[in-house]
């Protein structure tokens, strides 16, 4: 069956470590490869948009490589996409960060930075921690979070978070030092997490496995 396995492309826009994303894909049996070629994206059956780093730098790189148009075209045509961390943020309309500009605008909403203070308390940023995810409006059944429990721990490392315009796409919430924010979204063929499933031990790998199963990638 290997010969007809669907092709997953991990989009490389030259920021951060994609090695562990590829390892996670391999571990669950996906036919995944890392690429920054427009053609590969257009020929893929499913996309993973990972990323660590700055929003503005990431969008610039995507544009320079002409991947922004390719990604939008694929997703608008129904190809599944899995955004991780900065990759989730890039799917949104725009960042509130000064001068950061627009994202891919596949989901309406903005990117916000954690405040420096909350109720007179210092908020340490980046938020680097294992933190819990819990249910919001959407049910997790038939999503990549199937089999996971409310309050399972995932690994987070970020200074910004997404604020969708419409709450109905929120799949999980997380609370960092009394600030509650959206930590995963699901909207049609789009699934994205603020946390890093590939760094979240066995439960994170389960998310990769579930996502691959849902879209018949393994």
């Amino acid at each position: 069956m290997d010969g007809i396995k669907k092709k997953v492309v991990i989009i490389d826009y030259q920021l951060g470590n994609l090695f562990s994303v590829l390892q996670a894909c391999d571990t669950v049996g996906m036919n995944a490869k890392i690429s920054s070629e427009k053609e590969d994206i257009l020929n893929a059956d499913a996309l993973i948009l990972p990323g660590v780093g700055a929003f503005i730098e990431a969008m610039n790189n995507l544009k320079k490589l002409q991947l922004d148009v390719a990604i939008k075209q694929k997703v608008n045509n129904g190809a599944p996409i899995f955004g991780i961390c900065l990759g989730q943020q890039l799917l949104f309309t725009e960042s509130e960060e000064f001068g950061a500009g627009n994202g891919l605008d596949l989901i309406s909403g903005v990117i916000k930075r954690f405040p420096e203070k909350f109720e007179e308390r210092k908020i340490r940023v980046p938020h680097i921690a294992w933190n819990t995810i819990y249910k919001s409006i959407q049910n997790w059944e038939s999503t990549a979070l199937n089999e996971l429990a409310n309050d399972d721990f995932m690994y987070f490392i970020h200074s910004y978070y997404v604020k969708p315009e419409n709450d109905s796409c929120i799949l999980t919430l997380t609370n960092y030092d009394s600030i509650e924010y959206c930590s995963a979204i699901k909207l049609k063929n789009i699934f994205a997490t603020q946390f890093h499933p590939e760094k979240s031990a066995e439960k994170g790998i389960t998310i990769y496995k579930n996502w691959a199963k849902i879209h018949n990638l393994i």
Binding site: R124, V125, T132
Partner: protein, 281 residues
């Protein structure tokens, strides 16, 4: 929730895991991969690999250790030791590290912090500060495992590191490191109060209670621990000393690690939770 992280630190020399006192007098304890796998299964929140010799010649063996480790271990991995340039950072990230830890190069050229965090994201850049308390009570930053004097005040340096865009600070008390006498609480809480980024405390854990004392203050984000966990692993697993090169006498003699109360990561975390300190278990 505001949970803390427990981070085992693996000091690497060539192909071996080593451990010293005050970052010196290195003893060979075993194969890094064996320890890494065990800590992953035990619920370590991250792993830190520190190349303590960091000669150019041995760099490749560190790269091999990292790329092997990340194939099976799905938690964040920070790598430090001898990284001097953007190129070095890129190479370590390329073989699978999630974060890099800089010390000497950052003190020599603070702009490297700015450049690296802009390029790879703040959260990828961890700055290690090795502090030694001087006879007059000041804390000064040292480099090269506490050997090289810089004259830099650690508190000023920590603030500068924060302003330059680093994502985290690992503060090592060289005086306490490897002694099992407990963390330098004065040092780490002062650093932590001065900066807005997470602070990881390293150096001095000799028993579970030391980590409780450190973390219940609520200022420090993580505890970095080596001896406590390493010695437990050695007691539980017969490390194959005969296969190892270097200073293995210590290991062969199975000397009693009397100053330490070795423990499992799981047991330490249970103790933390019993003390209302939040962490992943």
């Amino acid at each position: 929730m505001k949970s803390i992280r427990v981070i085992p630190r693996l000091d690497i020399k060539g192909p071996n895991l080593v451990k010293g006192i005050h970052l010196e007098g290195l003893r060979v304890l075993g194969k890094p991969a064996d320890f890494a796998k065990y800590y992953y299964e035990e619920g370590a929140d991250e792993l830190m690999f520190m190349d303590v010799v960091a000669s150019l010649y041995e760099r490749n063996s560190l790269h091999d250790i990292i790329s092997e480790t990340v194939k099976k271990i799905f938690i964040p991995i920070t790598v430090g030791g001898g990284l001097r340039s953007i190129y070095d950072i890129k190479e370590v990230l390329r073989v699978g590290a999630d974060k890099v830890c800089l010390n000497t190069a950052a003190i020599k050229n603070p702009q490297l912090i700015k450049e690296a965090s802009r390029m790879f994201g703040s959260s990828t850049i961890v700055i290690a500060i090795e502090a030694i308390k001087e006879p007059d009570g000041r804390y000064l930053a040292y480099t090269d495992n506490g050997r090289e004097y810089t004259g830099v005040d650690v508190f000023q340096w920590a603030q500068q590191v924060d302003e330059l865009g680093a994502g985290e600070i690992v503060i090592t008390s060289v005086d306490k490191e490897g002694t099992g006498q407990g963390f330098d609480l004065e040092l780490v809480s002062k650093i932590s109060n001065l900066v807005s980024i997470p602070v990881i405390a390293h150096g001095g854990a000799g028993k579970k209670e030391h980590a409780v004392d450190l973390l219940k203050q609520g200022t420090v984000s993580s505890a970095m621990i080596s001896s406590l966990f390493h010695y437990h692993f050695i007691k539980e697993n017969e490390s194959k000393a005969s296969d190892l090169e270097g200073n293995v006498e210590f290991l062969k003699q199975k000397r009693n690690f009397h100053i330490f109360e070795p423990c499992r990561i799981k047991d330490l975390k249970k103790r933390l939770i019993d003390n209302q300190i939040e962490c992943r278990i």
